[in-house]
């Protein structure tokens, strides 16, 4: 039986930011996107750690780009969500929305 990939808070945040950035997303862009939306900065290292976890769960795939002089000769790693990753995000959204609906303190909209 396949292991259920349960998305943690930071995982969902990184996965959603990755989807917002698009197919050619890489670490700093994802970190910047989270900061722009959430208002709090997340170290790029934390984003990479989370991406590694998502990759192990099969929710994200990656490919290495070409090294450039601007990056000190280091290659860029591009990430994209897999089909499984998209399914898990949809599932997380449905679950959160259902939970949201049943909370009396949040009735009348979330401020």
């Amino acid at each position: 039986m396949a292991q259920q990939a349960f998305l943690g808070g930071i995982e969902l945040l990184v996965l959603l930011a990755l989807m917002r950035v698009g197919d050619e997303a890489y670490g700093v862009q994802i970190s910047d996107e989270i900061e722009a939306i959430h208002g709090r900065s997340v170290p790029v290292g934390s984003v990479y750690i989370t991406l590694a976890r998502l990759e192990r769960k099969g929710l994200v795939s990656s490919r290495l780009g070409e090294p450039t002089a601007e990056r000190g000769g280091r290659a860029k790693t591009y990430f994209r969500p897999t089909a499984k990753g998209l399914r898990e995000v949809r599932l997380a959204r449905r679950t959160l929305m259902r939970l949201w609906d049943g909370v009396p303190q949040l009735e009348g909209g979330v401020v």
């Binding site: 890489y26 670490g27 700093v28 900065s41 170290p43 790029v44 290292g45 934390s46 990479y48 750690i49 991406l51 590694a52 976890r53 990759e55 192990r56 990656s62 290495l64 090294p67 450039t68 002089a69 601007e70 990056r71 000190g72 000769g73 280091r74 290659a75 860029k76 790693t77």
Partner: protein, 223 residues
Amino acid sequence: MRGPEPLRLSTWLLERLAPRHRRESLVGDLHEQMSRGRSAWWYRRQVFGTILAGLTADVAAHKLLAVRALTIGWSAMYLVNLSATPFIEEARRALFRQWGPALWGESEIVRQLWVYYGLPFVLLTCVVFMAVGWMVATLHRRHLPGIVIVFAATLLIPATFQAMETRRLLGTELWPGWAWGSFRWALLFHTSLSITVYPLCALIGGLWSLRADDGNELPETIS
């Protein structure tokens, strides 16, 4: 085709202590941002946050290995202390009696450094701490580059007790006055070494052992 490195020390630390998985890309990302005008403060903050996040993830993912590393490090310290103390005491006496006066001659400063501050043994202790830090890092290179920091941090525990004892002794007024070479200064000197220099030596020894590699293998440090 590597360009000029931004902030050498931060990059050096990053290349050794950042999470292994995709380390090369991570360092490249930060490098790229620097070349696009990000500040040195931003870079240092990223380096610090990245190392801290990697260290936490490493230790959380390998708790047993972390315990093993600390056990090995502390056992080594204990064994070195146990086996070297009689030898060092003997050497100290021999050096003091035979070569000491010839070495310091008329110089009071050299005599104080030798007698009160035990400088040759301080240097020897530094070497021991560096060797133990190196050993801990070498035995856990594949899994836990961050464990070196944890090991060095645990050295602060006895150092804190030593500092408290020093504070108590200085408060007793057993040695009034703060004349140069007084026992007070020697006590403070050795306590400050335990808090700063010795853990730093263990850290340097450990970092010396860690290589800057590309770390593009599967994320073993992450679970």
